[in-house]
Assembly symmetry: D2
Homo-oligomer: 370 residues x 4
């Protein structure tokens, strides 16, 4: 924490739920991590002037703006953070990339693979991040470590569900509008499950899927997405994402069976990982219920002592800390725009398969960068 | 329990794991239920003479026999119980039906739909039962009651997994041999999940499926079966059955989301049902963890006081008790050969879909009798 | 299972809940275990002639009788099983011991330490058992094995609760009447917890306790018993037994912390043991959730394949199997009358401490025979 | 959030674990709550100059100081926050109260009841708070609401454990030194359990306790504290606090049984409350597993949408928000110095009872202000 730390000026485009989560991360990252940069919350940009002023005041943004086009070209801006509805991701990202800005973008990256590829191409010239924040849940980072060390052996099964139940209070939100959101549960929830699957278990080579809208018109996005998959590593998978899982709030679960063990995680129990280790003595074989709050666990030593729970917002903080660290060291960071494009390819294959009722091959494969 | 109770003489064909489970049920049913008939364990029939004698002695069978053909035609036999490998179900059932015997048969009923239909046609002349024993798990019977009362509202999602992990000690069993077993995880495990789904949620109208054998040849049965489904009631489903779920022993789970609530059950936790009731006051909304051991719960008042756990074997006892009761009252019993034929239709559609990579329509529908 | 197996004729005194549980065990033990003796259900003895006849018919007792005094002296009786209300344990046991019968007795053994000591002295001349059936829960037998192997290290804490909630349907039962039951939750529930504690963790040297009756007079037994304890091995303990734990049915739990690990068990989840092993690698440290259904687990290989749940009644069957095995081998069996007398000493100390508000020393110690 | 909000200048004395937790709360409270005051982190005061500078830089304190005496008398300071080792609470609080400062103090409040009473007397002249932060866990605030509405009926049992396991890495910390900490597990952990019990269930009238030090000298504080209690409302309680619960990290649990229901909470599962409601229909009776993340739940609407988990640190933020709100409205706030004095009376009774082996009456009662 020397005085010589460079300051990065941030412009955030968007002021909704994600705008709050990002604002909090910009605030908190330096409190818990030894960041190589200082972040200055320079401009927040949004359409609703009234809420924008209140949000800027509350979260300490120096300035407000209503036109993103001007903001992303400002010379004094180093970082452009995109927290808008999905249909604005591409225009903002492309303009910001052209202006040479560091790019942070919410998921799903784009409205289509074509759009995602264009964005990824542009982003290759600048440091970039996609907010697949669940990669930095400590329990998930631990799961990745266990997978990478080969402690699950040959993987047989990958199973993921992302279960939410949206009440009537959500009526009218942009996420129900296809022209703005691109898709429903698929882009919002399945994208998270797919990103984690690609990270943990590698590329998907083939899939069969179904999309379903339970709500009456004019609702035009999917409420649920189901998919069967074959992975390049020989394992098979089952995925389900829905906003109609009455009884569940934010039940983002995966379960993986390999020849040597099992892993299970559920976001409603964010601080735990279940790990079955077939190397345990036979009579005490059983899933370990690991409270992933240290010692020896990813990220958590930056926060509170062992046993002291962290929450949803910390996943954004840890993501940002890793990004800044990679930025300072000029190292690759994941998930980036290329990673998110792989997710987009899977989502597009889901749409194709759902439309024509056939298995869909992912010819390029959906490779997870590592 | 008057002295005038009629005695039914039972012949059991088979002496394996299921032979033990059935023998126990024949013994125990009268201890816990007020049965309208006495059951006499008259003949046990099997090929291995040595184990057969030991088994007869241990479980109190009066006689042993090695040729089922003669046994099923004996005048003094009232009930033929089929606990053989799958490929013998049809010949034994057809012969016994022809001889007018009451028929009890293990699942899966048959090697094919054609065979099942032939058996079901023959069985319509006699009282008959298929041992889909999990219908009588108290928690599942309670789930059915809740569904039948409409307390889940419109169903959106049905999700089932049946997860086992078979160790090397099982090598060589007949269940791995296609000519004897017909299929692997599909007939053994998925059949249970499908039977419960048809009972609880009604017919499946369309499905897309995948079968997978992880083991090397000469293994020729599926080790895993995955399936997506559309139900006639408008809900959608996801199914998975596998013998390669390291970390799970007998994890037969279903989870159902409707507009008014959620149900969840898992066989490794046989005495519990999870029920989310959206009618609860908002601040205490959450799945009820119901210990289904009474009072007010199906079957359990026949066994022990509330809070005293029952086990796997009791599902056979309660099934038999219900069957005898229906027999005395000349009422329909389920699951019978017709019900099991519906399951067989789904399994055959799974095979077709897995082979040709397309959604498979169930034209007649797989209707669950009620 | 040779034809030369000796038959033991059993007389059971009592026909209530425990009479059913024992009858079932006498039936089932030979089905699941290779017993060195055959058991014949010779006489069942009770006061209520009507229920007695029904019970004898249902459970296959050859004869009925209403006067236990004559029964226990019959030459053709080998085993006297006492399943009466508590105040009859002593007279029946003393008479049966005098007649040289093998003695099986329900818990709590006696109405007082003096009575227990007299019974234990008489019983030393004959094979004897007290039905502390929970010792043979597979998960508890596994816990004992882990303790005996020293895998918990130095024990620091022992914590037990036995939580039930008795509804109005139980009003009027003999268990609420002090002159018949001796005590309430203390003798009925705390006795189980104390027996397990002595078995697992050794003698208690000192205790402070509280008894409480929530119900109005004429209820004269305790509804709840609480106790703090010092064990001879240096660990400290906390115990609670109650019939007023609304929300719990049969929640018999213990939790033990030692320098090397933790064990936790709860009877409402009878087939599971939780074991924390501090030797696990740090990052996967967490309680193992062991589904104690084999392989390698006590008793369960006698019942069903791994993953197939057993229930409450099996604890009686396994207890009886072990007793018959010890009897044939002329080896000591536990829990016997001496073990149960140690439990009685603890209960009496609880009463003294509750009465005078002081810590009570157990001068002889409450030694668990092993 | 008008521009006219008054700013309160804060001086924090202390820079350890609690100093971080408080710094975070001062930062975050205005981000999530509409606070009536702005808080300025004016001075942080500590002995270790090196860590102090780093901490001030990281958490944005304007100034540092090493002598608390001068700081607490500064005219420009409005709030003194005490996050020192326990033996400094009294001198700092008394000096700050004398200087008319708003007082915030860590728990346990004092080294003795006498000290606590002196502090409470002084604090009555100024707004004051004690950081019993767990009162603002949303699940616990919901539990209090349920209790206050009488939805548990007559309370029978209160049961609390606070289980931690401290590894060798903690050797040498001030919390092991009696002259600095006052006590061990008792003041550190049991104090939390007692505060919650007094808040939820009212005064304790009598107790019997045991203290135990497992570690060898020179360790001179208790490692474990056990206690039985009688509450003024007629219920009875059991408490245990320990740093030797291998297998548990921060297992702060309470369980309450009343005539109409049960409540259970555990801090390792901070976002959940278990509630058994005996008014539920009999067949679906079972503990509700409530994910206390809204809607309708205390505090959580200030943070993230339903289903998005919060953590340990949020309890401090919500505590501070409530305090500032009460301050602006000139309303009483709890827990304050008087509440903490009641906790201190219980702890002192624990010490007396542990020393003389008798039940200890709390003559004044340990009344929880409401």
């Amino acid at each position: 924490m020397s005085a010589a730390k460079k300051t990065l000026n941030v412009a955030m485009i968007g002021q909704g739920f994600m705008g709050r989560a990002h604002s909090n991360a910009f605030h908190q990252v330096g409190h818990f991590f030894d960041t190589p940069f200082d972040l200055r919350r320079k401009v927040i940009c949004g359409r609703n002037r009234e809420t924008l002023d209140a949000m800027a005041a509350r979260w300490g943004w120096d300035e407000t703006a209503t036109e993103w086009q001007a903001v992303v070209e400002r010379k004094d801006i180093d970082v452009v953070d995109i927290a808008t509805p999905n249909n604005l991701h591409a225009p903002v990202a492309l303009a910001a990339a052209k202006a040479g800005k560091i790019l942070l973008c919410e998921k799903p990256l784009a409205m289509s693979v074509a759009e995602a590829e264009q964005m990824a191409a542009a982003a290759r010239k600048v440091p970039n991040l996609v907010w697949f924040n669940y990669r930095r849940v400590p329990a998930i980072a631990l799961a990745k470590r266990i997978m990478d060390e080969g402690r699950l052996g040959q993987v047989y099964h990958y199973r993921a569900v992302y279960l939410q139940s949206w009440g009537p209070e959500r009526e009218g939100v942009w996420r129900f509008n296809k022209s703005v959101a691109g898709s429903g549960a698929m882009g919002d929830l399945l994208s998270h499950s797919v990103d984690l699957a690609l990270m943990l278990n590698g590329p998907i080579s083939e899939l069969s899927a179904m999309l379903r809208t339970f709500a009456p018109p004019p609702r035009d996005v999917d409420d649920a997405a189901l998919m069967l998959a074959r992975f390049a590593n020989g394992s098979i998978g089952s995925f389900e994402a829905t906003r109609y899982a009455v009884g569940r709030r934010n039940y983002n679960q995966f379960e993986i069976h390999g020849s040597k063990g099992m892993l299970r995680f559920n976001l409603e129990d964010l601080n735990r990982l279940e790990f079955f280790d077939s190397n345990d003595k036979q009579e005490i074989l059983g899933p370990h219920q690991v409270l992933v709050t240290g010692p020896g666990h990813p990220y958590v030593d930056r926060y509170w002592p062992p046993g002291h729970i962290i929450g949803y917002e910390h996943t954004f903080i840890s993501t940002l800390a890793d990004f800044l660290d990679a930025l300072a060291k000029n190292q690759p960071f994941h998930a980036n725009f290329d990673d998110a494009t792989q997710v987009q390819r899977v989502l597009e294959a889901v749409e194709h398969s759902a439309a024509d009722g056939r298995w869909e091959k992912l010819e390029k494969g959906a490779r997870a960068a590592d």
